[in-house]
C-alpha cells in the first residue's frame, strides 16, 4: 500500500500553505514531518485526512484518487495537539465511537476497545468521564481511539506538545513501542513535530517541511548527516546549526582575518569561491589555540551551557557539556572541529558534508 502525493498546492490567501508538495509513503513505516510552526504541517495532515481540499495536485492511495473520497469514507485516524475527545461520552464510549459508527458487533467492539485501552495504559478507565481526566490521560484516550480503528493511515499532529516535559518524555517512549507494533500492522504512520530531537528519536523517515514545501525526504540518519540545504540544517538541529560566510582559496577556508584554517579532508576538491559554512554547536569547544571570540551570552540548560560568541560578523553558538560561568564581554578561545564542517553554496544547497564528502 502506498500513499503518493503529487504537486499538492493550496494558497488560500497571500501565502502558500502547500507549495508543490510531493512525497511517497509506504505501509509499515513511520514518517515524521518536521518543520517550524506555520510550515504547513497541520495543513498537510488535514489534507491527507480530507478535511482540507487542495486547489491542485493529487493524492492517491494504491492508485485510487483520494480526492474523490470524502473524509468519512477514508480509512484514516487523527490525533490533535489539543486533547480532543467527545466530552459527552465516557472513555469507553469515546474509544468505541468509530467502531459503533462502522456497525461492528458489540462483542468485537468490546475486545478491540479493551485492547486499545490496555495498549495506552488506561486499563480500568472505561467508565470515567473525559473531564475528570488529566491532560496526559485525555491524550491517551485520543490515541486509543485512533488505534482502535486499525486505519490505513494514522496522523498525529504534534500530539505531545501540550504536555509537560516529563510526561512528554514518558509518552514518547510509549508511543515508540506502540508505533513499532502498529507499523508492522501495515499502516502508514505520519507524525508531525517541531522538535528535531523528537523526530530523530522516533526513527523512521523524515520529511522536512518549510513554507509549504517538502525540502527533503530521507531517513533520520540521512537528514542528520546530509541536510540538503542551509534551511534544512536550521530546521533539523536544536540548537540550529551555526552558519557563517567564508571563502575557499588556496587550500584554506577563510572566514575572517583571524579565523582561517586548512581545508578539511572531505572538502578537498571544492572549487574556489564563496560558501556558507555550517558547524553544529557541539562542534565548537573551548581550548587554547583556537579563535578569539567575545562572549555575548551564556545560557545554562540542565547540565550543559550554550555559549553565544561573536567575532566581527561571525556569530555562533557553542555547546559545552558542563556548567560553566562566563562574563559578558569576556574573550575566549574557541576551537572549531573542522572534521565536521559543512559547506553550502551561496544559494543554500549542500556542497560537502562530513559524512558523504562532495555532492
Amino acid at each position: 500500500m502506498s500513499l503518493i502525493a503529487s504537486n499538492l498546492c493550496l494558497k488560500p490567501d497571500t501565502e502558500y500553505h502547500l507549495n508543490d508538495v510531493c512525497f511517497e509513503m509506504s505501509k509499515g513505516e513511520i514518517y515524521t514531518i518536521i518543520g517550524r510552526t506555520l510550515a504547513g504541517k497541520t495543513t498537510l495532515l488535514k489534507t491527507i485526512a480530507g478535511l482540507i481540499a487542495p486547489e491542485s495536485g493529487s493524492l492517491t492511495l494504491d492508485g485510487t484518487d483520494f480526492g474523490r473520497i470524502p473524509v468519512w469514507k477514508r480509512e484514516v485516524a487523527m490525533v490533535y495537539q489539543q486533547f480532543i475527545n467527545y466530552p459527552h461520552l465516557s472513555v469507553y464510549e469515546n474509544v468505541a465511537f468509530p467502531l459503533k459508527q462502522r456497525r461492528m458487533p458489540n462483542v468485537e467492539i468490546r475486545n478491540r476497545v479493551m485492547r486499545a485501552l490496555s495498549q495506552v495504559g488506561l486499563d480500568g478507565f472505561e467508565s470515567r468521564k473525559i473531564q475528570a481526566l488529566s491532560g496526559g490521560q485525555q491524550q491517551r484516550v485520543a490515541l486509543a481511539r485512533s488505534l482502535v480503528k486499525e486505519a490505513n493511515i494514522v496522523l498525529l499532529d504534534e500530539p505531545l506538545v501540550n504536555l509537560d516535559y516529563k510526561l512528554r518524555e514518558q509518552l514518547r517512549e510509549e508511543f515508540r513501542n506502540i508505533f513499532s507494533a502498529k507499523a508492522s500492522e501495515n499502516s502508514i504512520l505520519i507524525y508531525s513535530s517541531t522538535d528535531p530531537v523528537e523526530a530523530m528519536q522516533l526513527g523512521g523517515q523524515i520529511l522536512v517541511m518549510d513554507e509549504g514545501r517538502i525540502l527533503q525526504q530521507a531517513s533520520a540518519k540521512d537528514v542528520y548527516e546530509n541536510p540538503n540545504s542551509t534551511k534544512v540544517s536550521q530546521i533539523t538541529n536544536d540548537p540550529a546549526m551555526n552558519l557563517f560566510e567564508g571563502t575557499v582559496a588556496d587550500g584554506k577556508v577563510i572566514i575572517s582575518s583571524e579565523i582561517h584554517f586548512d581545508l578539511p579532508q572531505h572538502c578537498q576538491g571544492l572549487p574556489q569561491g564563496s560558501y556558507t559554512f555550517g558547524l553544529r554547536a557541539a562542534a565548537i569547544s573551548l581550548a587554547d589555540g583556537g579563535f578569539p571570540f567575545t562572549v555575548e551570552l551564556s545560557e545554562i540548560s540542565g547540565s550543559e551551557t550554550f555559549l553565544h560568541l561573536k567575532h566581527e560578523h561571525v556569530q555562533v553558538v557553542g555547546l559545552l557539556d558542563s556548567v560553566q560561568n562566563f562574563n559578558i564581554g569576556e574573550t575566549v578561545s574557541a576551537q572549531f572541529d573542522t572534521a565536521h564542517l559543512y559547506a553550502f553554496a551561496t544559494d543554500g544547497r549542500l556542497k560537502s558534508s562530513p559524512y558523504g564528502g562532495l555532492k
Partner: protein, 288 residues
C-alpha cells in the same frame, strides 16, 4: 471544511425566513411608492412623492424620532446602571441570594402590555395608589396627562420591565469572569471601588457593549407601553416613531405614506446601529 451538505443546514431556515419576509418587504417598498389611503384605495404609482413629503413636510415624524432617541437612550442608560448595580449586589456575599436573583428576573418574563395595563391603574390619577400617597402631601401629579410626567411614567415602566434583561446578561457575565485578576487585586490591597474600576468594569466591557446594543435595538421598538399607557399622549409628547407609523397606517389608514415612513425608519435604524456598534467596538479596543 466545506461540504455540499452545508446547504441542507442553512437553507431550510434561510428560505423559510426569506419566504415569509419577501412579500411583506417587497410589498412595503411597492406600497411606499403609491398613495393608497382610505380615500383613494388602490396601488397607483406616485414615485417618491411620499418620501419627499416625509423629508420636507413632516415635522411630526422627525419629532417622534427625537423622542424615540431620548426615550431609548435614557431607559437603556438607566437599565444599564441599575442592572449592573443589581448584578454586582447579588453576585456574591448576600443573604437570600437565590430569592433576590429570581425576583429580579421576573419583570422581564411578564407581558409588557399586560403589566402596563396594571401600571395604568396604579398611576390612575384619582383612583390609583400613587396619587393616594401624594395626596397626603396635598399634591396630585398628573402622571399620565402632563407632558413631562407622561414621559417620566413611560420611562419608569420601561425601566421596571427591562432592567432584568440587562441584569441577566450582566450577571451571567460576572459569573463567568476569571478569578485571577481579583486575587491579584486583593494582593495589591485594592478596595471594592478600585477593584470595580480597574478590574470588573474593564473585564465586563465586551459583555456590556453587547448588552447595550441588544437592549437599544429592542428599546427602539417600544410600542406596547406607549399604546396602553398614554396612547402617545398627552398630545404627542410620548409619541415614538413606531407609534407614529402605527397611527398613520392603522388609524388614519394612509398605507402608502406609512410604508414610506417604515422603510425610511428601517434604513436609518440599520445605519445607526451599525455605526453605534462600530464605535463601541472601537472604544473597547482603544480601552484595552
Amino acid at each position: 471544511m466545506n461540504f455540499k451538505h452545508k446547504y441542507m443546514f442553512l437553507l431550510p431556515g434561510l428560505l423559510v425566513l426569506l419566504g415569509i419576509l419577501i412579500f411583506p418587504i417587497g410589498f412595503t417598498v411597492r406600497l411606499s411608492l403609491s398613495s393608497w389611503d382610505s380615500f383613494y384605495p388602490g396601488l397607483d404609482f406616485i414615485g417618491i412623492e411620499n418620501y419627499i413629503r416625509l423629508f420636507t413636510d413632516d415635522l411630526r415624524f422627525w419629532e417622534a424620532f427625537g423622542r424615540l432617541s431620548m426615550l431609548s437612550l435614557t431607559t437603556v442608560f438607566l437599565q444599564y446602571v441599575i442592572g449592573f448595580s443589581l448584578a454586582l449586589m447579588v453576585w456574591k456575599g448576600i443573604v437570600f441570594q437565590r430569592f433576590f436573583r429570581v425576583l429580579f428576573l421576573i419583570p422581564m418574563m411578564t407581558t409588557p402590555v399586560i403589566m402596563t395595563v396594571i401600571w395604568r391603574t396604579f398611576f390612575h390619577e384619582s383612583l390609583g395608589p400613587v396619587n393616594d400617597f401624594f395626596n397626603l402631601f396635598g399634591m396630585n401629579p398628573l402622571w399620565l396627562s402632563s407632558e413631562i410626567l407622561a414621559k417620566f411614567t413611560v420611562i419608569l415602566v420601561e425601566v421596571w420591565q427591562w432592567t432584568p434583561f440587562m441584569f441577566l446578561l450582566l450577571l451571567a457575565g460576572l459569573l463567568s469572569l476569571p478569578k485571577e485578576p481579583y486575587l491579584a487585586a486583593s494582593i495589591d490591597g485594592a478596595g471594592p471601588i478600585r477593584t470595580f474600576v480597574y478590574v470588573t468594569f474593564p473585564l465586563m466591557a465586551p459583555i456590556s457593549i453587547g448588552a447595550i446594543i441588544i437592549r437599544l435595538i429592542e428599546a427602539s421598538k417600544i410600542m406596547d407601553t406607549v399604546y396602553v399607557l398614554t396612547s402617545g399622549g398627552p398630545g404627542t409628547s410620548t409619541e415614538t416613531s413606531s407609534f407614529y407609523i402605527f397611527i398613520k397606517g392603522l388609524r388614519e389608514f394612509q398605507f402608502g405614506y406609512s410604508a414610506a415612513l417604515s422603510l425610511t425608519y428601517l434604513i436609518i435604524m440599520i445605519i445607526s446601529f451599525t455605526i453605534i456598534a462600530k464605535i463601541l467596538v472601537k472604544l473597547m479596543v482603544r480601552g484595552n
